[in-house]
Symmetry: C2
Subunit: 284 residues, 2 copies
């Protein structure tokens, strides 16, 4: 299957590697708006050819939109428009974005809606760009397919095959539930890491050597603060209502802790920690 | 050197392993208040002998207080009292606690103060108990020695040797600076993880499957929420003022984020993320 990947960053680049190596794609075409990244992707050999947007859509059987969600809401209708214009039959386009409701609304009434499958492979690192792409990135993680009933059955089966090739287990849910869930298990973690980085960087202005002391615990908690603003600004914007709701709960919990510590109420502090420890039964 | 370790958990147990293997200690004695842990430590072979508190202090040249800081403030004066009572010469006691000011105040005027060296090896995991002990836990991390001018020179040199054996690099500061620094690079990370766990566990009551989706990012951010209440309740209590100060800055940063998201101000969101990204130059 000829596979076109629009956006050759961490996710698009890593997909390109494994889809080609594992025989899902005969040829991999790429589209990359940023010239430096495009040159790097060709040099590293992530794709067989870098093409223009139109050529990539015309020459591919399957198109993967692997761009930040702010760009995806613009490009997805364009891909479907091009399908309609060229009377393409049997082609499929997927996105890999971390928010879904807004995207699904954008194409709800598009005549080619059924050729689009909404998907979210839940894997990644805090690095970005074609240099960050790696084989095996998706192995063993979960992938969500949203609103499968809105897509053509055959299109869904092709996408299921694609994620099987990437060794992902597939979960199905509607876009709205997807966005609630990702706010809890992904988006809030990024916001808390960003806030932690900002807090400690503030202090660092006076205390140059504070980071000599940073140990493994701090590093793992702050790791996500290295994540790209190009990716995260539109996510936080498009999943605004869910994220605000989770942030409010989170700030409430922080204030519970603050009060217990300020009141020297060791029993309350211990109670909160014991409750938090229940995360043990869930996260290995 | 005969080394007595009071508290055979993650830190005490891991020290026991490496100090014996690497030849710093000829014999390692242990004291453990919890009978199950004491039996486990003997069975695993962490120490040569489990002794009573008094016997351990009397028979050891160097005593390591590896108990939570709430217990350390009670036991440290008792060790020094015993030194005075038995007219012990040349003995040394260290603690390994994560807060120092309170502890140092407790023994400031003790006649045997010079036989105590305040130290904080900055290494650990989120697990506790003798089962969590492991070789190499300290290798490559930093260790803080506090207020070295309050201790006998010879005692400081022995403790420096001990941490050299554990492959740690030593940093010197006073207790008060120590507690400020650890509030920023360790304690706040734990509080943010606890609050994250509480937030997501709250949601889980209605949504049983939310954790199917938890990816690596969430796991690393929430990892410290598994940490022991026995260790962390007294830390948060004894470093109260510093931690409240850092929490206030942190809550302020969260509110900045909340406002930018609520206002749909993408430029402000991007600005905060770009600022947070500066953590890259500090954390590998």
């Amino acid at each position: 299957m000829k596979t076109g990947i629009i956006g050759l960053g961490l996710i698009g680049g890593s997909m390109a590697i494994d889809l080609k190596r594992r025989g899902f794609a005969d040829e991999v075409y790429g589209v990359e708006a940023e010239p430096v990244n495009a040159a790097a992707a060709e040099k590293i050999g992530l794709v067989d050819k870098v093409l223009s947007f139109e050529d990539c859509v015309d020459q591919s059987d399957l198109i993967v939109l692997a761009v930040p969600v702010g760009a995806a809401v613009k490009l997805l209708p364009k891909v479907l428009d091009r399908f309609a214009l060229t009377e393409a039959a049997g082609k499929v386009v997927i996105d890999v974005c971390s928010t879904k409701e807004h995207l699904s609304r954008c194409v709800k009434y598009h005549p080619c809606r059924k050729m689009y499958v909404a998907s979210h492979p839940m894997a990644g690192t805090e690095y970005s760009g074609p240099w960050a792409a790696m084989p095996g990135l998706f192995d063993g993680h979960a992938c969500i397919i949203c609103d499968p009933e809105e897509s053509d059955n055959r299109a869904v089966r092709i996408v299921e095959d694609l994620y099987k090739t990437l060794n992902m287990r597939t979960i199905y849910m509607n876009s709205s539930n997807h966005d609630v869930h990702t706010a809890y298990v992904s988006h809030i973690s990024h916001v808390t890491s960003f806030a932690l980085a900002l807090t400690v960087l503030d202090k660092e202005r006076d205390e140059k050597h504070i980071f000599d002391l940073a140990s493994g615990g701090f590093s793992s908690t702050v790791r996500l603060a290295k994540s790209s603003p190009d990716m995260w600004t539109p996510i936080l914007s498009q999943n605004r209502d869910n994220i605000l709701h989770v942030m409010d709960t989170y700030i409430e919990k922080m204030n519970d802790f603050r009060k217990a510590i300020a009141d020297c109420d060791e029993e309350a502090v211990r109670g909160l920690i014991e409750e938090a420890n229940k995360i043990r039964r869930i996260i290995r």
